[in-house]
């Protein structure tokens, strides 16, 4: 190695040509790669070209589950290296031994940024970290937790909060693509859908947005991810530390119960509208709302049956495994709740007529999702 000095030779023409050739080659490779591979994928990730909700909905038509209750098992695939990963892989290789210090610096900076509430570079740095440490599920889940929980609360507007959670979902989705054997990532995704979008303080707004974008209930999406996490964990035992197996497994069942409760709320609302319309003397509207309520009631009964079946399966699984009695009791209790509610709704369905709706409605209660 030689610094510039009196003995330094002038640059040879060959060196200059070599450098120019390398730069030209890089441009020739990178530009088409960016134009036709990275950019479309980025746009897709951002949701500008295609809603991620639609993507997931399309995927679920083929893979995850159907609303009728038939759950199709999705076999987790092998890690796939896509063409769009090549720049990231190249950067990782180029950095060599400097990867560690660089990642450490990035970690320090993102935590500083979070505390200083500087966000314009945050996603950029998260992406870098995830790019350089993509094989660690905990990296994805930790950063996604920040995106879904710690950052949205710094904003007041629900739209902006929702956009941060969307970012967390996209980010974690990318993490699951890179780590398809990680039940931890899948369970964390389920948790974002269930706890953040489905049951937080602002859940009313989020549930509406998810329904608009995904075309179905947030709890069904949460169920799909938890169900996926169950399957991946059965196959690869990759749940990680911190979340008990039975605790995670029953989250899938819980989300089916929440979904059923959501449908039951719809039933209540439709009947309430019907009763009100009848009291106002709008008989046609009242009859229409009643019929809607009956349709929803059928759907709710199916959903409760589905929830009962899932609770029942898991109860049997853990009875066989002889887990702690206290844990088992939780499964039995919620299975009984699903069974009892199904029975009550079926009784209601058999006895309810348009004529006796006002009297019956007096005894109905709108279920709460907690």
């Amino acid at each position: 190695m030689s610094a510039s000095g009196s003995g330094a030779r002038p640059p040879r023409r060959g060196t200059v040509l070599l450098v120019l050739a390398v730069v030209a080659g890089l441009v020739a490779v990178v530009h088409p790669l960016r134009r036709w591979v990275v950019e479309p994928r980025r746009q897709t990730l951002l949701g500008h070209r295609e809603s991620p909700g639609r993507r997931l909905a399309q995927a679920s038509q083929f893979g995850f589950a159907t609303a009728s209750g038939a759950s199709i098992r999705l076999v987790p695939g092998r890690p796939v290296l896509e063409v769009s990963d090549l720049p990231a892989q190249a950067v990782t290789l180029i950095l060599g031994g400097f990867r560690g210090p660089y990642v450490m610096w990035l970690w320090v900076k993102v935590e500083e940024d979070k505390h200083k509430k500087v966000h314009f570079d945050l996603i950029h740095r998260y992406t870098r970290i995830a790019m350089l440490q993509s094989d660690y599920p905990q990296v994805w889940t930790f950063l996604a937790w920040n995106l879904a929980w710690n950052l949205p609360v710094q904003w007041q507007s629900l739209e902006r909060r929702y956009q941060w959670i969307r970012r967390a979902i996209e980010f974690l989705g990318e993490g699951f693509r890179k780590n398809p054997h990680s039940a931890e990532i899948a369970a964390d995704m389920g948790r974002i859908y269930s706890e953040k979008l489905g049951r937080s303080q602002e859940a009313e707004y989020y549930r509406r947005r998810v329904r608009e974008e995904f075309g179905r209930s947030v709890f069904l999406v949460a169920y799909e991810w938890y169900d996926l996490a169950r399957q991946v964990n059965e196959r690869h035992n990759s749940l990680g530390r911190g979340l008990g197996r039975s605790v995670m497994y029953r989250q899938a069942c819980h989300n089916l119960s929440y979904h059923a409760k959501e449908l039951t709320q719809d039933v209540y609302d439709a009947f309430a509208e019907s009763v009100k319309a009848r009291a106002d003397g709008r008989d046609a509207d009242a009859r229409k709302a009643y019929e809607t309520g009956i349709r929803r009631l059928d759907e709710a009964i199916k959903a409760w049956k589905w929830a009962w079946r899932d609770w029942h399966d898991e109860t049997l699984r853990f009875e066989k495994e002889q887990i702690m009695a206290m844990q088992l009791e939780i499964f039995r209790r919620f299975r009984a709740e699903a069974e009892e509610t199904t029975r009550q709704l079926e009784t209601l369905r058999n006895q309810l007529t348009y004529e006796n709706l006002p009297d019956t409605f007096q005894r109905m209660q709108r279920p709460k999702i907690q």
Partner: protein, 596 residues
Amino acid sequence: MRLWILAPVAVAVLVLTDLSSPRFDLVFEGIPAAVGTSLLVMTVLTVVLGVFFATYSIPAEIETKVSYSVVTKPLARWEIVAGKTAGMSVLMLAMLAVVGAGAYAYVLARAGGIQSLAASRLDEARQRAAHPADLNALEAAARDGPLTTFRYRTADSGPDVRIHYPPDMPPEPGVRWILGETSRFLRWGLSTTPLREWVATGTAHLRIALRVRPPSKADAPPLKVNVALTSADLDARAKAAPAPARADLVRQVVIEVPDSGVIEVPVAGPNVRPEKGVLNLPPAGDAVLEVGAATPGYLVGAAGGAVSIVGPGGQPFHLDAAPQDPSAADRTRAYLVGRDDLPRQVAIFRFGGVPSGALGPGSTAVEIRLSVDAWSPATVEPAAEATFLNPATGRQQIFRFTPEGHHATLLYLDRDFWHGGPLEVGLECVTKDDYLGVVPASVRLRMDGGPFAIHLAKAVLCVWLFGTVLAAAGVLPSTRFTWYTSILATGVLLFASFMREFVRSELLRDLWVKHATWRVAEWAKSCWDWDGWDNVVEQLIIPLPDVWALLPDDTISTGQVASLAQMAATLGWAALATAVLVAAGALLWRKREVAA
């Protein structure tokens, strides 16, 4: 390997890195991230040069015996060390200039693409815009491009809290109004009255004639007001040790206001036994009467001559004074109570003569920072309203936006609306049950920061100053130790400087301070009773200079220009640090036999 190859490699790395990193919001994050990446790459370049090359020169010359012919010249050692540092510094400057030019070209190209992207997204966003502030920002990016620089101008006066009256309320000159539940008071000084003499002989009465305007809602609860007697001299009140018998004096009473608006409050002396509903005069200082409205929605006012005092014997005293203006403390920080209908509070900020030339060619952005206490249900977004008034033309522009507690909201004014000169900004909270906190810096104008190229050049200059200090730090150990040891020493210095806060706060404060330095602090305290010893001892633990602080901070990437004072401070610190390091290097080399 030739050093100049590093410059095009650095440009290539910055372009590749920026392009391969997804941006979730390219319009607003693209340029800041590209500038940030450019500065990062330049920093890495200077670190590589400083750590690996500045440490190399002197040991190599000693090894090859080139230094024999140098040190035997009539040159002082400090001149040689300074020359090495200056040479490396010039080399860095040249390379940073090349990389900076490349980065500028790349950012320019990126900005063109972002501007067209913003224009295409504007049409889509217009249909589903939930927040006008976001749309304004997008419009500005589409119209003026993302390459904007700015500096702030804080309001010349404000917040001046007023009441936004309902349109059907006739003006009543001379009457000062307060709004219910807003912690504002009607205040009168009673020092010129005979109240203190009269209460010494018996119970006097304060008679206050209030003007009342009920809220428009029919089922409004009856109006209640707080009437309080305090002391004007707060210091005297705080210093006076309260006697046990005076601790529970009645300082405030709540009274329902009759339809006539006239209330009467009995007042007793400070030594009279407290009695419910009877105010006690403060024992010291000039007495001040404060009246506040406790029922939301009511407007309560008073004019001059509204207060009269009736003595124990029935003798009257009329106070001609009007209610006083709010105190200075109230004018620097205010809480706006949210109301969904008029009347409500409005905080006025005024800008004096803003020169038209300082506004730049694009839209003028007004940055609004508020603290938000949102007590409304979680599904209700807090809403605020900003009213811009151009006093020269009398035109108004109103924006309704969702205030963010932790982040600023940018509102862009139309260029047709205001071309400089005076400007008034009124802020209101329009969500029921929510509160907005405002301070003088809550409203800032983003003035034109000048050409982007100069802005970037200043940032590059900061990186160069950092590099110069680093070069001096690299040369310093190399005057005494081998190349490898010098690399290690410089690397450790950089790393320790980077981890400075962590080392201080986490390691030393917990491990060392608690077990060792507290003894020093205790001993010092025993000599001189001063609470500051704890901090001083902590500060003295590790006097490590923060080399990284010389680098431009994150606000540079967003377009906020560094002030001349900041640049001068950076330059001064860098020069000082370099001089100290060069002097230390020369000292080290003097003790070494080079040409023996």
